[in-house]
Amino acid sequence: MYVAVKGGERAIENAHRLLANARRGDQNVAEVTLDQISEQLGLAVDRVMSEGSLYDRELAALAIKQARGDLIEAIFLVRAFRATLPRFGASEPVDTGAMRVQRRVSSTFKDIPGGQILGPTFDYTHRLLDPALAEGFMPEVPATAEAATAPTPRVTDILGRAGLIESSPRSEDGASVGDLTREPLNFPAARDLRLQNLARGDEGFLLAMGYSTQRGYGRNHPFAGEIRFGEVEVEFFAEDAGFAVPLGSIELTECQMVNQFKGSATEAPCFTRGYGLAFGQSERKTMSMALVDRALRARELGEEATAPAQDEEFVMSHSDNVQATGFVEHLKLPHYVDFQSELGLLRKLRQEFAKANAPHTMKEAAE
């Protein structure tokens, strides 16, 4: 005797209780606090803010805690929260040239105005597991100096003054910036939308795409013109006040790649740009983004687009990890109705195959 299985509702509730317990882990171990996540897992918070498209350290830390450290799940939580927030407008463009720089390196010049500033970086650390950290560890007091008063102009601006690099396209006055969270995306997409897509895009995906250009799939000869990380002011133009009001400051990483360009009959050879920008300290992300941004400019620069990283539809349609993880993981959902339909068709085709081949087999058997 067969009775259709019920009780899914209860199964879901039980599963969620199990999840809550698994998230907490051994209750003899102190519970992690949002401050601890924000302070000690800061780069995870930065990534969740960037790809979650919401600058809020506390919410990002909460999302990481709730997601048990699964960063894509945390990004998803932040995105779902962000999706229904009221929208008041767009800020004024931030001026990264006026950034209070904590780290700033250029690979194209030995020294630059304002200096190379290593800042907090994994670069040049030896990747040896450090047992001292497991014990509980008090770091040495960092060296300090007076904040430099000298400006730190962007390396691309220095190249730009000599006309050696294409000028950064200025947007028309009053032109609105596209927003793919508010307007459905159409192809071909303009660079503002491409950059937004990449900024929200999965770090791992962009890393692989950027890497592929270095290995010859759409090679564009990049130099890391500059990578800078620090604080910038955000301002909002208030219509009633008639002037821009400061909203506060945020931490950003910016990467400007300098790429080769051969020039054309009408244009003198000059360097071209690839651009990366992300919340917090996100160097791998911004460098990958800059490589992919440059690759996606192939058509605009009259290059032949043959590689995956140069294919706008391919890159933009698959960069979003919240979309990707949802669709990949939806294969867990029941598909038995379709499977049944497929099974029926397969059985029929096999029967017909057997029938069509039957006389032949019998003949063979008789021989």
Binding site: Y2, V3, R79, A83, T84, P184, G326, P334, D338, Q340
Partner: protein
């Protein structure tokens, strides 16, 4: 902390307006996929976010909502979505097809004929019927613009040449109002005829792919076929083992590891309704009794 506070039916009003405008255009251009700025929903893309956004945009406090997945009200994702709307919109829910004013579905059309006062909302994973033949949106959009569907016919004809049949068992393409080729969502082709001249409004939401499309009531919906190879809906040739129905779509249930199997209605509400009305199949547990215990995931 910026503590979350959510609106009736979850979505903010600006999002609802945007979706509502898309729905009106979708109805006005039957079978055409209207792009919309799909939002991240609190469930994953691919799990019904398009359907959920459409439902959230149309749902009102007087609606009665039914949610099915694979034809069943009790599959986990159907339960999850039903609870979401019960919680965020406080609407009444039902499992009875005829009592519902809005039915959200994944992969099936109910067996009970729909009526004029109902809206059927489909969850759609890949809205573009030409996508597997041509991955580029710029290309498929051009094909729709020119009503240039030769590629689809070639594909179907290649099936016939190779297998003697059109080898598409679900998500079987249809032509709506003699103009747009449309993906019916991954319903088994058994359900395709129900879309034709249906009294209910049919709305389709694809969240990840950001498209909404519609079939108005009483609209011609034709499954693509050839004169010498007409469309045939597939159904396993057996009565339902529980209610004896001979015209419903059946799930195959594997009953042991020795090849034992049985066939029962995939539409659980339809099956239960028939059993309650006294219909019995060869294996029905009479009187029908709900088995609600145990941690099994329904």
């Amino acid at each position: 902390m910026n503590a979350p506070a959510y609106n009736f039916a979850y979505l903010d009003e600006q999002t609802k307006r945007m979706i509502r405008r898309a729905i009106l255009k979708a109805i006005a251009i039957p079978g055409y996929q209207v792009p919309f700025a799909s939002r991240e929903m609190p469930m994953p893309y691919g799990w019904g976010t398009g359907g959920v956004q459409v439902t959230a945009a149309i749902l009102g406090p007087d609606d009665v909502l039914k949610v099915i997945d694979q034809g069943s009200d009790d599959t986990t994702n159907a339960i999850s979505i039903r609870k979401f709307f019960a919680k965020t919109a406080g609407v009444a829910t039902t499992t009875a097809t005829e009592d519902a004013t809005v039915i959200q579905t994944r992969h099936r059309i109910p067996e009970t004929a729909l009526s004029e006062n109902q809206v059927l909302v489909y969850q759609v994973p890949i809205p573009e019927p030409l996508r597997f033949l041509e991955p580029r949106e710029t290309e498929t959009r051009r094909m729709h613009a020119l009503a240039e569907y030769g590629l689809m016919h070639v594909k179907l004809y290649e099936d016939i040449a190779r297998f003697g049949h059109i080898a598409t068992a679900y998500a079987y393409p249809v032509k709506v109002n003699a103009r747009y080729v449309m993906d019916p969502s991954p319903t088994p082709k058994f359900d395709n005829p129900k879309m034709d001249n249906c009294p209910a409004l049919q709305l389709f939401g694809a969240g990840r792919e950001k498209r909404i499309y519609a079939i108005p009531p009483y609209t011609k919906v034709v499954s693509l076929d050839f004169e010498d190879h007409p469309f045939e809906p597939y159904r396993f040739n057996a009565p339902c083992a529980l209610c004896g129905a001979e015209n419903s779509y059946l799930d195959e249930i594997v009953t042991d590891d020795k090849g034992g199997r049985m066939f029962v209605c995939s539409d659980t509400d339809y099956c239960e309704g028939r059993q309650a009305a006294g219909h019995h199949g060869s294996l029905s547990a009479a009187p029908y009794k709900e088995k609600a215990q145990g941690g099994s995931n329904g």
